[in-house]
């Protein structure tokens, strides 16, 4: 009866969210950081859908669709940013992408 309890789904969603957060805080590859953000969005989606199933309310599924749309918008902007940054720096190291916070070292 595991598949019929809310807690099992919340548990899986929390594990996935923590792995995503772990990827953001401990990796340097900008692609992996982006994928970790996507993973966190997906974990929250799972939580939304599980809660909507257990409250018999369709609002959670609508919210999950909104999250998917936001993820698509984020993908477009983020990938074009990565392409521009990679053309300039020839690297995927997120430590080099400091031009918003500091003066660029030529």
């Amino acid at each position: 009866m595991i598949a019929h309890t809310l807690f099992a789904y919340i548990f899986v969603a929390m594990i996935l969210f923590s792995i995503g957060l772990l990827g953001v805080i401990s990796r340097k590859n900008i692609f992996v950081i982006y994928m970790s953000i996507e993973l966190m969005l997906n974990a929250i989606n799972l939580m939304f859908v599980a809660l909507s199933h257990y409250h018999h309310d369709m609002g959670g599924q609508v919210m999950a669709m909104m999250v998917i749309a936001i993820a698509a918008a984020e993908a477009g902007v983020f990938l074009s940013l990565i392409v521009v940054l990679y053309r300039r720096k020839k690297s995927l190291d997120s430590d080099l992408f400091r031009t918003l916070s500091q003066k660029e070292v030529a």
């Binding site: 019929h4 594990i15 970790s36 997906n42 998917i68 990938l79 074009s80």
Partner: protein
Amino acid sequence: MMDILFLLLSSFAILGAVGMVSFHQPVHSALSLILTIMALAGLFALLSASFLFMVQIIIYAGAILTLFIFIIMFLNVKEANLPKEPNKAMTLFLGSLALLPLNFLILRAFYKMPLHVNPVASDFGKIKPLGMELFTHWLLPFELISILLLVALIGAVVLGRKDEA
């Protein structure tokens, strides 16, 4: 039957996520993320969200991650251009230790939550009731999302052009 499916799908999801954070090459990470996305689509189907199951496969695995893998291959990143992470295993281990208290707090809060255990209606999560909900209660957020997508489209075009100045 449901339990076996749930255990299989969730273990695939977690396995894919662990692979995603620990692989060195971005292409391997992206393929591993696709495994997670597909397993999550299966979990949506177990939760009787049949329309979201299709959306997850078509939009996420089919559009977003394909675009992502396309960009990785388009950039053609060499091994020398990847960031060097000599103590990656150590930082991943310490980071996961640091995230344990957060998990403990949130899971304890959810553990005390009261639940409905009644089975859902037979058309729950199908495309028609979901569309009715979306276009009645959630009409304004839906329109705002379309404006957001337009802004993101313009932003991606503006950022992606070659700078002439």
